[in-house]
Point group: C2
Chain length 402, copies 2
């Protein structure tokens, strides 16, 4: 498996577009369309929030068929908390796309991201869908425009492509995603789209997507909040021509590895581009009693505002890291716990240890920071990506709606 | 019951002092001493963090006797994560105080708050204890100095006194506390001291303190983090001369009400003085299916960085409030949920409702904000105090250790 240049259109038989239809006040692209030339196997993972956006709810229903031709996503409006009107607007989006493709509307997946509680501007959406079909292309440039059209407070578009061989046939997996606030595990976390030309049935694809998401997108925390519009959908159109993948085979494992690679890269991009973030922080826990404890420990550290502000301030405040593990619910003996910043041990057996403050400062000044916590209670581990908490997080979120 | 002027020394038979012994770099007061002239019934509630400061651990052991003469608390150093040296230093603090009082060292409660992992400056502590005994007084001024000496990032000292009659005898309950970061429920939350001249045995006092703390200090969230040094201790010396209070009597209920009133006021002061806070925010949930769900809902909203930054920005972003309730784990139907800012309904049946934006802005510009969430799923309720999330929270916590 190797990473290659390209975007969501890199797998054969996929085209994309990204247009500005006027939902965003600043005229930036706000409607993305991804089309598979043939019906694709479809899978999806959706927010666990009880409150769910109308476009997301429609996708959840439509994914049940296991088959999709297109994904249409608007930014600038979450299409959430609007009652029956929101459901109607989501359906109208799907119908408009299905009309262009002459496919059942159930084969269109819809996503919306942006402000909650604002009625969708449907004339703009319809005009945007028409413009997107006029622009639809398999080029890298078209993929980039689609990536940009799903951005909200993201500063950079996010995509990743890998290719690998299956029984002599070249297969590609591509993904694009948007962050960058309201990002937290267990809720599918954000909007992501994965395309592949691999031949695989919908049930197997769903199983692989769930595995990949649990280990990647569900291991990103920007602020502990989770949105009502978060979803990751995967479309596999079989255009590579490989023999369809069977579950629990080496081939399925290779496809999973590729999907996980793409999802990992997108997850890291999301954390690095967290609202106001200046650093990508990887929290790694090992020596936990079991995997639940490892997850609890890594989660508490990744979501602690005190840890995250200290990272912004480049302050080697390991006491806050140990404190967060202490209240995480993980069972461990502080007297067995070591903490490292990069390779620098800053806490040994739960106690202060003399360390080189200049070296600690140098490590914390990097854009990529690794925090390792060795609990000494067992052999389970976990890892999570997060970012620091800066003035800009407050600025961005103090005035998002206005 | 009525509030009166005064501080921790208002109940008869209590004296206090606050001195600067050099633990804080800026020369501010950093050692507080509270002494009961006679042995008092003692109770305490302590952090649930697995990692616990050495001074706190000593208090936890000493409180078991149910009897205390004094509380000594230093700020500027948490005396935590220091191994056996930390235990020795906590014991030395208690011994020094016991020496002055000629009482068993087990009758001294110790608390420390500040940076984790820094060896205590014991010569400074000893000098501070001597100076505190020289200054010990029952005046309001002495109480104020004690309040100041336990402050860390607090901007204002925090105290509250009430008095009420028990069988014709005037009884007083006083409290002082410090915040203002690492404040979160279920961990006793901060350092607080409550004194009363009421006669009550230690077991009853412990029961009343636990009840009061659960409904007050455990309903404050500043940042979702919880410290290794959090504790609330209560001393009741009986100097009022009332017949000792029996459990489950009207008299016990009246003492509880007074303790809860003092704790409520201190809790609100802590939230209002949350690090970087510009507003005190009360989150109130009703209509929950049961009390667990009410707590989950109120907790999720109170700790959401997205809600808290929107409050700082005075942005009526009710979608974030509903989103937080949605991922809280509370069971409810969004279509039955209403949200109010003050008396202004901003969300009805889970949907956007037209509201006066100017009126919303006016409400959010206040220093005291009430957010009400009616879940429509049952009859349980809860409430919690929090604050907004500002640039200053980031500034304060980006450079705390240095």
């Amino acid at each position: 498996m190797k990473p290659i240049d390209g975007g969501i259109t890199a797998p054969r038989g996929f085209r994309a577009a990204g247009v500005a239809c006027g939902l965003k006040k600043d005229g930036a692209p706000d409607l993305a369309l991804i089309v598979s030339d043939t019906p694709a196997s479809a899978a999806g993972v959706f927010t666990k929030n009880i409150v769910q956006g109308h476009s997301l709810q429609l996708s959840q229903r439509n994914i049940r068929s296991g088959r999709a031709r297109a994904v249409v996503i608007n930014s600038g409006n979450a299409n959430a908390c609007l009652g029956p009107a929101g459901d109607r607007d989501a359906l109208a989006m799907a119908k408009a796309v299905a009309g262009h493709l002459r496919c059942p509307e159930s084969e269109v997946l819809t996503g919306s991201t942006g402000v909650i509680g604002k009625k969708m501007d449907m004339p703009a959406i319809h005009a945007g869908i028409d413009a997107a079909f006029a622009d639809l292309a398999g080029s890298i440039e078209a993929a980039r425009r689609a990536e940009q059209a799903i951005m909200t407070t993201d500063l950079v578009p996010k995509s990743c492509v890998v290719e690998f061989e299956l029984e002599g046939i070249l297969v590609r997996v591509a993904g694009m995603a948007k962050g960058s606030g309201m990002i937290h595990p267990d809720m599918a976390t954000m909007i992501g789209v994965i395309t592949t030309d691999c031949a695989v049935d919908a049930t197997t694809l769903q199983h692989l997507l769930r595995s990949a998401v649990d280990r990647t997108f569900n291991r990103v925390s920007v602020d502990g909040d989770t949105s009502v519009c978060d979803m990751v959908v995967a479309l596999a159109n079989g255009a590579a021509g490989n023999p369809p993948i069977k579950p629990d085979t080496p081939e399925a494992a290779r496809l999973l590895a590729a999907m996980e690679k793409v999802s990992t890269e997108l997850s890291r991009l999301i954390a690095r581009d967290g609202e106001g973030a200046t650093k990508l922080v990887e929290i790694r826990v090992d020596g936990a009693r079991n995997s639940e404890d490892a997850y609890r420990a890594v989660l508490a550290v990744a979501r602690s505002p005190l840890v995250k502000t200290a990272l912004f301030g480049e302050d080697a405040n390991w006491g806050r890291i140990l404190t967060a593990v202490g209240y995480s619910g993980a069972d461990f003996d502080p007297a067995q716990c070591d903490i490292y910043l990069g390779d620098l041990k800053v806490c040994e057996n739960g106690c202060a240890v003399a360390f080189d403050e200049a070296e600690a400062k140098r490590i914390l000044q990097e854009k990529d920071i690794l925090i390792r916590i060795a609990l000494g209670a067992g052999s389970a581990g976990d890892r999570m990506w997060t970012c620091d908490f800066s003035y800009d997080y407050v600025r961005i979120n103090g005035s998002y709606r206005s």
